[in-house]
């Protein structure tokens, strides 16, 4: 489903060698598979996500979604791709204050369907996420975990083929973090969504099918069965 082929991103540096933010990363993520990426600050995680999300053009290599290379789409095509084929979850909840949970969740659907249809479409997902009692509550009245679940609903609302999650549990306590990861794992499997999860949270590795470490722009494999408990991840930063 997602295939990164020898992906490279170099930034020019004044009077020196270019910075190799991402240096020849290759990766394949199958539908319904969850891949976790660990790495210290400056390891190239964000750059990698930006390139996958068509927000940054790679210096070399390709980002394939199915058979299509999305690394050099036009702005309009890239927007269309992010709207329909990509879901993005972040640590900071990008919810609009003063707006209800359900209206925040249907944001991406509004482009292609009427408001009532969009609400009908999203309601089962929000219920599945345990928000059935909070649909009409305004964003600022929701707990952190609820807000993150609204973000997950928004990200999955268009039934994307690929989901990028950047520190999705960063603002949550352990219990809420675990719940969110469980939900992500089960939903992605049910909907056959490929997931790339970037995190510092050791617990994320427990839910990922494969775990990779990113150091100095290069990717290295780690078998999930090597990880026994949270806190034992050798590469967690």
């Amino acid at each position: 489903m997602l295939e990164l082929r020898e992906l490279v991103k170099h930034y020019p540096a004044v009077g020196g060698e270019p910075v190799r933010a991402v240096d020849g990363v290759s990766l394949h993520v199958a539908p319904g598979e969850m891949v976790a990426l660990y790495g210290p600050s400056g390891s190239g995680k964000t750059t990698l996500l930006l390139m996958i999300a068509t927000l940054l053009e790679p210096t070399a290599g390709a980002v394939l979604i199915g058979d299509r290379d999305v690394s050099s789409l036009s702005e309009r095509e890239a927007s269309r791709f992010r709207l329909t084929e990509l879901g993005f979850i972040r640590q900071n909840f990008d919810l609009l204050p003063g707006v209800s949970a359900i209206d925040n969740a249907i944001l991406k659907l509004l482009k292609s369907m009427r408001w009532a249809d969009a609400q009908r479409e999203i309601t089962p997902l929000l219920e599945r996420l345990g928000l059935e009692q909070r649909l009409r509550h305004r964003a600022e009245t929701l707990s952190m975990g609820e807000r993150q679940r609204v973000m997950i609903a928004r990200a999955l609302s268009t039934k994307p083929r690929l989901l990028l999650a950047d520190e999705p549990t960063g603002s949550l306590d352990t219990q809420r973090g675990r719940e969110v990861l469980e939900l992500l794992q089960s939903l992605c499997r049910e909907q056959h969504v490929a997931v790339v999860l970037v995190s510092h949270d050791p617990m994320a590795a427990l839910y990922a099918d494969r775990v990779f470490a990113l150091r100095d722009g290069r990717l290295s494999d780690h078998e999930t069965d090597q990880l026994h408990a949270p806190g034992q991840l050798p590469l967690s930063g």
């Binding site: 964000t46 927000l55 990509l86 990008d94 707006v99 509004l110 292609s112 009532a116």
Partner: protein, 839 residues
């Protein structure tokens, strides 16, 4: 905290929000400028009259005043000087004149005085030679006036048109600013008393005697003067003209003051909008300082430093801008008031004007900076950043809407019951407008959401969501437009209704003649300098002339008002402008006035003197006469009030057969222009009389009305201009500040075009909500202003609901603000989506 540390802290914070602070400074400057310029404009007229009056009367405190332009015998001076307690008595003979030179003409007040006037110490005559200049009559002119008409050399002739005569007088000297100070701009010509008596054909007569009593003898002298006046002359304070002018210009000044306050409010909202941009930082600062142990007092002191810095820069800029506005835009044109008062063109900038404008600016800055005062004073040090029930809560919304309704009910009560309290009524309306605006915004957003459900597009949903999310700022921006459009619609509406009324009054007061023949002069329209009607028979013999009537008119000081008296020929048809009557039977009133002994009074005058229709009363005319009240009218466009009677009654009451104009009726089929040419030819070039068709005469009246009301139009236009800039700037800043959020929407896949459309839709919604609400309240304000003009000043207002004007203002503000906003919003929509990942 030490002041030096507070200053350093301010400097550091300023660097981080320089653009927003600049917006705030501009907002305060705009408010201060409008407030200052309109105050200067108002004060200049009043000051000009006061300066001229004081420049002549000097230390005199009383005056004996003629009731008509013919004055009274100069021999009275001896009697006044003989009164016990009189220290100085100085005679004056004043007459309105038209001064003509090779470069142009100017209406002036010709002042004749003798050397005794100098003893009163008035600035205008202190250094002027008032003895006859070697037995040759000559005049002295202020230098700018002399320059305007082109008479600047010693001995050069200035032509004077006065009382139906044309005479010439040589120039003796010019008066310069070093001699007479601010009086340099006064429209005055000074000459020895005997010479003016000769010019005006008023031999051995004076129009007033100025009296300076000895110390402690004021009451004694006043009583003696009253006895001497014997009810045929007026005994008044020396500053009587100032008092009369204050009354005459009160309506105009009040409306200007009210609308300058509205314009200042727009400026304040501009500043407030800009301040909202920095509210998160300011709240964070409050929380940080409180958490670190600083007391609320210190926090307030730190924030007040912000207010002082903003206020000082904003006020300085505003005063400079206001100075330019008052010079180049807000001219103090006295227009028709000049027919009753000598008014110059000098600008007067008093310390009070500066203090009011600066105080307003500093207050605006302080209120804006200290808006989170409740959080500063809270026991919870982090109250400023902790969420609490606030602006958007349903309870607060209901309370606001209820308070708004109460204000609206108050304004309605004023409109219906006490329209004279128009200013508090307007303040209540503004308060109601601001309080109901959140409700209007909520209703609009609900409507948009409902409509948006019917279409497949993210644009309206996202726009509605974004506006809900930034509600406080959205309301602040909408409020700017609302107040501006409210002011503009109310001002323009009342202005147009008044103009329509004045136009109709002008048409009505010209309906009884085809041609006017009256003394020349720019303000000699309804009231003119009287002249001996020697040419009546000659004019009646002209071919094409059916009849020539004598029209009389003048000003009468009645109580605290200088009233306009209009007296058409007894046989004039229509004798009375029946459309201008507000009470009484028009046919009966016309018959009674035609029969004589009856008159029509404007309602405010009748109310002031407690008179009712049918009642007999004595009018303080030169020959005090008893009249009965036939009907009540509006003021015919003359703010202090008007009286209408027939010309024969006027002659009896004034003790003179002089006329103010000939009313010429033409034979049917003769075009007015033919009649005008024939009469001009018959009179010759030196008659001192101007010939005008009734249409042209009415046209000049209309033009004068427009000049007098021009300042209101200027203020209304400026308010709109400031509002457009304020809203465009505030929305532009808001959009720019929202770039990270736009980037997040882009991250979700919303393309640039969609985002741009969303921003523009948000702007249209905000502008429309603000402007539509403002326009609706503006129409209400127009009715309030109309009612006040009718009931308080008796102006001939024609009520209307100028929805078209309101729509024009709305389209103008929305269109202009959108045009200004289009480009910045396009750039904001072009924000890279990657920006969303940078936080």
């Amino acid at each position: 905290m030490k002041l030096s540390n507070a200053l350093r802290l301010y400097r550091v914070r300023l660097r981080a929000r320089l653009v927003q602070e600049c917006f705030a400074v501009l907002g305060i400057a705009a408010g201060v400028a409008l407030l200052f310029a309109s105050q200067v404009s108002n004060a200049s007229l009043q000051s000009s009259v006061a300066q001229l009056s004081r420049g002549i009367v000097g230390n005199a405190t009383l005056q004996l005043l003629a009731r008509d332009p013919h004055g009274f015998p100069a021999s009275t001076l001896r009697q006044v000087r003989a009164l016990p307690g009189v220290r100085v008595a100085a005679p004056l003979l004043e007459s309105g004149a038209n001064a003509i030179g090779p470069r142009g003409s100017e209406s002036v007040q010709l002042v004749g005085a003798d050397a005794s006037l100098k003893r009163l110490g008035g600035v205008l005559v202190r250094r002027t030679e008032l003895a006859p200049f070697g037995d040759i009559g000559a005049v002295v002119l202020p230098a700018p006036l002399a320059h305007t008409i082109g008479v600047t050399k010693f001995g050069q002739d200035v032509t004077l048109q006065l009382g139906g005569y044309t005479v010439t007088a040589p120039l003796y000297s010019q008066l310069y600013k070093r001699q007479i100070g601010p009086l340099i701009a006064s429209p005055v010509a000074i000459a020895p008393l005997s010479f003016v008596q000769e010019l005006t054909h008023l031999h051995a007569r004076v129009s007033r005697i100025l009296v300076q009593p000895a110390a402690g003898a004021q009451a004694q002298v006043r009583t003696a003067l009253d006895t001497l006046a014997a009810g045929r002359l007026n005994v008044e304070p020396a500053d009587y003209d100032e008092q009369l002018f204050a009354k005459a210009s009160a309506a105009n000044n009040q409306s200007t003051a009210l609308f300058s306050v509205i314009s200042a409010l727009v400026g304040f909202l501009f500043a407030f909008n800009a301040m909202l941009l920095t509210v998160p930082q300011r709240r964070r600062l409050i929380a940080d300082l409180r958490r670190d142990g600083y007391t609320p007092r210190t926090v307030i002191a730190v924030l007040m430093l912000d207010a002082v810095a903003l206020g000082v820069v904003g006020c300085a800029l505003g005063l400079a801008l206001g100075e330019e506005l008052s010079i180049h835009l807000f001219h103090s044109d006295p227009a028709f008031l000049s027919l009753a008062f000598a008014i110059g063109s000098e600008r007067a900038v008093s310390w009070q004007t500066i203090a009011i404008a600066t105080g307003g600016g500093m207050l605006a800055a302080s209120v804006a900076v200290l808006s989170p005062l409740r959080d500063i004073l809270s026991r919870d040090p982090l109250a400023a950043i902790n969420p609490r029930e606030g602006f958007g809560s349903a309870r607060a919304g209901s309370r606001r809407a209820l308070a708004g309704l109460v204000c609206l009910i108050g304004a309605t009560a004023i409109l219906l019951a006490t329209p004279q309290a128009a200013i508090p009524g307007m303040v209540l309306l503004v308060a109601a407008l601001l309080l109901e605006l959140p409700l209007a915004l909520s209703a609009t957003l609900a409507l948009v959401r409902r409509l948006a459900r019917m279409i497949t597009s993210a644009t309206p949903h996202v726009a509605a969501m974004e506006l809900s999310a930034a509600r406080a700022r959205a309301i602040a921006i909408a409020a700017t437009g609302a107040i501006a459009v409210f002011g503009s619609v109310a001002i323009h509406g009342a202005h147009d209704d008044l103009l329509t009324g004045l136009d109709r009054a002008a048409a009505d007061t010209n309906a009884f003649t085809d041609v006017w023949v009256s003394p020349a002069g720019s303000y000699n329209l309804l009231k003119t300098a009287p002249f001996a009607p020697r040419q009546q028979a000659e004019l009646e013999r002209l071919p094409g002339v059916r009849a020539v009537g004598l029209y009389r008119s003048g000003l009468l000081d009645y109580g605290a008002r200088r009233v306009l008296v209009i007296a058409p020929p007894r046989r004039a048809i229509p004798l009375l402008p029946t459309a201008q009557l507000v009470r009484g039977d028009a046919r009966q009133a016309t018959a009674r006035v035609r029969a004589g002994g009856w008159l029509v009074l404007s309602q405010a005058l009748a109310d002031e003197h407690h008179l009712h229709i049918g009642q007999a009363f004595t009018l303080p005319t030169p020959a005090p006469s008893t009249f009965r009240l036939a009907a009540l009218s509006n003021n015919l466009g003359w703010a202090p009030g008007a009286i209408m009677m027939n010309a024969d009654d006027y002659a009896r009451a004034w003790g003179s057969t002089d006329a103010s104009a000939y009313n010429v009726l033409l034979t049917p089929g003769v075009a007015p222009i033919q009649g005008v040419r024939a009469i001009e030819h018959a009179l010759g070039p030196d008659s001192g009389l101007a010939v005008q068709s009734a249409d042209r005469h009415a046209g000049e009246q209309r033009a004068l009305s427009r000049v007098a009301l021009a300042r209101l139009s200027q203020i209304a236009t400026l308010i709109l201009l400031v509002a457009v800039l304020a809203m465009a700037a505030a929305m532009g800043a808001m959009v720019w500040q929202r770039r990270p959020r736009l980037a997040k929407l882009k991250l979700e896949g919303l393309p640039r075009a969609e985002l741009w459309r969303t921003i523009l839709l948000e702007s249209v919604l905000l502008l429309c909500v603000g402007c539509l609400t403002g326009a609706s309240f503006g129409l209400y304000g127009q009715q309030l202003a109309d009612r006040a003009l009718v009931s308080v000043v008796n102006f001939p207002v024609v009520y209307s609901v100028t929805a078209l004007n309101a729509l024009e203002s709305l389209v103008l503000v929305v269109g202009a603000a959108l045009a200004l906003l289009a480009l910045p919003s396009y750039f904001a929509a072009s924000v890279p989506a990657a920006l969303a990942l940078e936080d």
